[in-house]
């Protein structure tokens, strides 16, 4: 604790390297451009009132998606830098120092997991879950806004090192101890990781509580658990995982921070610290986390397959059992992330065997998706392309996973590029493909017009081929004895051609992303040709398609009563629509408190990174004050009278 007033801050912490100057310049220029744009179009008020302070989950969902896309851009820049380094660094040190490379690798992991994948999923869930359960909003609208803004604050903090500090953590994305301790990492990089994860972790926890309570308590009358759509089921499973394990991440990284700032000894090499305990704790969070990343995607795929096969999902009950059993099993397998730490054959076998059991419900799901297409009439709209690609990658990546579940096999491939290929197969093939499929599928519902399908299919091929060109070499590199996170290697290993191949695959994927961005622009331009006038562009089966596209801000003028699993499909078959008996509607008001609290939380996080404790304390008091002010405010909702509802409904 250098200095009371300024903590560890000093003028030397301003940008000095080419990449910190570059990153800072990029962020500042982008920020300035946005400010200029808003000033010119006089849209400050609109932005604040219509979007930033909104408690409407559809708006919050869109903001999550935009935020995740921005972070995706940052994460992909990281990937490019790493691939280029590895392509050149055979018998050479390349263009990045080892330390810098390791920082990029760490940032890439944290950004993609916490901000991109979770951001996109929270976005889609905000859009769709209330609509699918027949609710108007989440259980806690303000907490929804707060959760988003805390995540955004975390995203700002993880990028803030560019401007002040110049270093990020170099420890790998989970900041394993004791490498992340003060003894080996005295700088602020690890602290930036800790506090950006604390902020976004809190945001995720709040969102998890919110979605859990919403799904359990706010379903439309008649919708029993076994009448919920599969996307809601798998999201519920994912959210239950969130609420049970994110506190473990919060506690563990907080203890690491205590070690670093108050010289405590939880995970240090000396002082009685137990480094293995960090690994156990962080993976007790980490393993369920990866299932949080894939479970919602499973549900999305189930619905997309059913809709485009024009057939009910095969084995609904099995699918629910599969999701639940994957959820329960995911709590019991964490040790498979460190079989090599030497827990002994009995313990290793137990965790290995339980891990293998997860393959059973996973396999059942794949069978059920295929059997849904069987005797269906499958329309290969672009979302279905992503489904087929997903199933192929899921099977290859899944085999790699079950292989690693066997400890003796894992001893050879642990921490190798084989492992990297496995989990990227899951994150890209399952989570990301699910997001792309979900966005194309639900875009017309939220925005009122379809996305250009031809461009989506082109993007798909770039992604699929690019994925295989990038990651098959990594599976092979693992068997060639190449560990992960290497910034240079000997030419004699024979690895270089494979790294270069992977980099070519990266560029194919970049073409895919460019196509997707282009698709958005083109679709907006061609909006009128693809308008969704009926609210049901795909002949859908679930409740969200019963509203207009886009839905009114209150989702449903009248909350429907549910009689079957695929309520909308059944309504269409019976030729009925939702009753028109209007009532007054209670809705939450907009509020800027989410932004204020998160802004202060950002300052607290920053202050704790730099050990400016008086500022952190002040910030904490500020947060508490805001919460007390909120609690005294009894006017956080308003009533939309039924006459107004009728008027809006008439005009649509």
């Amino acid at each position: 604790m250098e200095n009371f007033l300024s903590g560890k801050l000093s003028l030397e912490e301003l940008p000095q390297h080419w990449y910190t100057v570059g990153g800072t310049a990029f962020m500042l220029i982008t920020g300035i451009l946005i400010v200029i744009l808003l000033k010119k179009t006089k849209r400050w008020g609109w932005l604040w009132n219509e979007w930033l302070t909104s408690t409407d989950p559809k708006k919050i969902g869109t903001m999550y998606m935009i935020f995740a896309a921005l972070m995706f851009f940052r994460g992909m820049v990281d990937v490019g830098m790493m691939w280029v380094q590895q392509s050149f660094a055979a018998d050479s040190r390349g263009y990045l120092t080892s330390d810098h490379f390791q920082q990029i690798s760490t940032a890439h992991g944290d950004i993609m997991v916490f901000f991109v994948t979770m951001g996109f999923f929270f976005g889609l869930m905000n859009w769709i879950i209330p609509l699918q359960i027949g609710a108007r909003d989440l259980a806690f609208p303000f907490m929804n806004s707060l959760g988003f803004w805390l995540t955004a604050a975390g995203g700002l903090l993880i990028n803030f090192f560019f401007m002040i500090g110049g270093e990020f953590a170099n420890t790998g994305w989970i900041a394993a101890a004791p490498f992340s301790e003060l003894e080996f990492n005295p700088g602020v990089g690890v602290d930036y990781l800790i506090w950006s994860l604390q902020l976004s972790g809190l945001g995720s926890l709040l969102a998890g509580i919110n979605f859990t309570v919403t799904i359990i308590k706010k379903r439309a009358p008649g919708m029993t658990l076994m009448k919920m759509s599969l996307f809601v089921w798998t999201s519920l499973c994912g959210m239950i995982l969130v609420i049970s394990v994110f506190p473990v991440l919060t506690a563990t990284t907080f203890l690491l921070w205590l070690d670093r700032v108050f010289s405590m000894h939880f995970f240090t090499t000396g002082g009685g610290g137990n480094q293995m305990m960090y690994w156990n704790l962080i993976w007790m969070w980490g393993h369920p986390e990866v299932y949080i990343l894939v479970l919602p995607a499973f549900g999305m795929f189930s619905e997309i397959v059913a809709t485009f096969s024009q057939k009910k999902i095969f084995g609904y009950v099995s699918m629910v059992c599969a999701a639940v059993s994957i959820t329960l099993l995911s709590y019991l397998v964490w040790l498979h992330h460190f079989f090599t730490m030497g827990a002994g054959a009995d313990v290793n076998s137990f965790f290995g065997i339980v891990t293998m059991f997860i393959a059973i419900p996973s396999g059942v799901q794949v069978f059920n998706w295929i059997l849904t297409m069987y005797k269906g009439r499958v329309i290969f709209a672009s979302p279905m392309y992503w489904v087929i690609g997903f199933i192929c990658i899921f099977m290859i990546g899944g085999m790699a996973g079950v292989l690693q579940a066997s400890p003796p096999a894992d001893f050879q491939v642990h921490n190798s590029l084989f492992l990297i290929a496995h989990f990227h197969s899951m994150i890209i093939g399952v989570a990301l493909f699910g997001i792309f499929a979900g966005v194309n599928y639900w875009f017309p519902k939220i925005f009122g017009f379809k996305l250009n399908e031809r461009l989506d299919k082109q993007a798909f091929w770039f992604w699929l081929v690019g994925f295989f060109v990038s990651f098959i070499p990594l599976y092979l590199l693992g068997f060639m004895g190449a560990p992960r996170r290497l910034d240079h290697y000997a030419l004699s290993t024979g690895w270089q051609p494979l790294f270069i191949t992977s980099t070519i695959g990266f560029f194919l994927i970049v073409c895919g992303i460019i196509t997707q961005v282009w698709q958005i622009f083109v679709s907006i331009k061609e909006k009128k040709q693809h308008l969704d006038r009926t609210g049901d562009p795909w002949n859908g089966r679930t409740l969200e398609w019963a509203t207009s596209s886009p839905p009114p801000f209150y989702n449903f003028a009248v909350i429907p009563t549910i009689t079957s699993h695929e309520e909308f499909w059944s309504m269409k078959k019976r030729g009925i629509s939702i009753q028109k008996h209007y009532e007054d509607i209670l809705l939450p008001k907009n509020t800027g408190m989410g932004i204020y609290i998160s802004g202060i939380a950002f300052v607290v996080g920053f202050a704790l990174v730099w050990q400016v404790f008086w500022l952190a304390l002040l910030g904490l008091f500020g947060v508490v004050a805001c919460i007390i002010i909120l609690s005294l405010d009894e006017n956080r909702e308003y009533v939309l009278p039924k006459a107004k509802v009728a008027e809006i409904e008439r005009m649509r």
């Binding site: 080892s98 330390d99 390791q102 420890t171 790998g172 394993a176 490498f179 480094q275 024009q310 057939k311 009910k312 095969f314 609904y316 009950v317 099995s318 460190f338 090599t340 730490m341 030497g342 002994g344 054959a345 076998s349 290995g352 293998m356 393959a359 059973i360 396999g363 059942v364 069978f367 059920n368 297409m373 005797k375 269906g376 009439r377 499958v378 290969f380 199933i391 192929c392 099977m395 079950v402 292989l403 066997s406 400890p407 003796p408 096999a409 001893f411 050879q412 642990h414 921490n415 081929v465 295989f468 092979l476 060639m480 004895g481 560990p483 992960r484 290497l486 290697y489 000997a490 024979g494």
Partner: protein, 286 residues
């Protein structure tokens, strides 16, 4: 045009599969070319598991592609049954199929995990050669307690003789000791000893490296492992004992300080009980 795309697709897949086989059969694919008993056993596990999984995965792939093609909406000839959702019996069968394979794999896993346990001494009439390994930032120190010598970034042992490694670390975070051609990896940490039992089949030179990120010198933290005949090994010991370098406490303390890309060093003398002292350093009892 569709036919052309289909043919290109099939060709691409065939090329990919051929290159995979080509690469895995090259000598550079260390994991598929084991030179020691443990790595050999681990490769058998890998192959067995892949074969077992293929029983389910290969047919599933084929079903996926056939069904997606046949039940395409454009194919008017295919049967359409929108209510076909499977009964309880059908769903149960689908659970049983993967369960059977997984249960078989469970038995294979239990057996293999115990047989290939790094902690398990190898069955042999020959007494194992004991070598102590200390992971430092960013090099590997090998101590031969019975011979009284030590080496840096180089380890030599006789082929056909079981080797009992005891691993620890000093001044370095979690480390992983990996010689892919001889055995899977095991972690080396401060304050703890992890054992690893291996045996090389024949003479040869093998790569060893660090497999757990531990700082800027991680990528350069490689070492050379060499197996020779028993007589060559004994000659080598004698030669090392002539080395002018001695691993005194002073020299060792300098080694603990971080350094990268260290050249191979051979020490003719090593302090008594050095390894135990290194391990006990972290227990606070001195």
């Amino acid at each position: 045009m569709r036919k052309v795309k289909f043919v290109i697709g099939v060709l691409a897949i065939v090329c990919a599969v051929l290159s995979i086989f080509f690469i895995l059969s090259s000598e550079k694919a260390l994991v598929t070319h084991p030179k020691g008993i443990i790595a050999d056993g681990e490769l058998s596990v890998i192959i067995t598991n892949y074969l077992l999984m293929s029983i389910i995965i290969l047919p599933t792939f084929i079903f996926l592609l056939v069904i997606a093609w046949k039940y395409n909406a454009k194919n008017a000839k295919a049967e359409y049954d929108p209510e076909h959702t499977g009964g309880v019996r059908g769903e149960l069968i689908l659970w049983i199929i993967p369960s059977v394979v997984i249960v078989i794999m469970t038995f294979v896993t239990w057996k293999a995990t115990h047989e290939l346990d790094p902690y398990r001494p190898l069955k042999s009439e020959i007494d194992p050669l004991r070598i102590q390994v200390v992971a430092l930032d960013w090099k590997w120190l090998f101590i031969y307690p019975e011979q009284g010598i030590a080496t840096l970034n180089f380890v030599q042992f006789p082929a056909g003789v079981p080797i009992h490694f005891s691993l620890a670390a000093d001044g370095s975070p979690m480390n992983s000791f990996w010689m892919p051609q001889l055995s899977g990896q095991i972690y080396a940490m401060t304050g703890m000893v992890t054992p690893l039992h291996i045996m090389a089949y024949e003479t040869g030179e093998y790569t060893g490296r660090a497999a757990e990120l531990n700082g800027r010198g991680y990528a350069g933290m490689t070492f050379l492992a060499k197996s020779t005949s028993q007589s060559d090994f004994e000659d080598w010991i004698i030669a090392v004992k002539q080395s002018p370098l001695r691993l005194t406490d002073q020299v060792y303390n300098n080694l603990v300080a971080p350094s990268e890309d260290n050249p191979i060093m051979l020490y003719s003398h090593v302090e008594e009980n050095l390894f135990n002292k290194i391990v006990m350093k972290y227990s606070g009892l001195n």
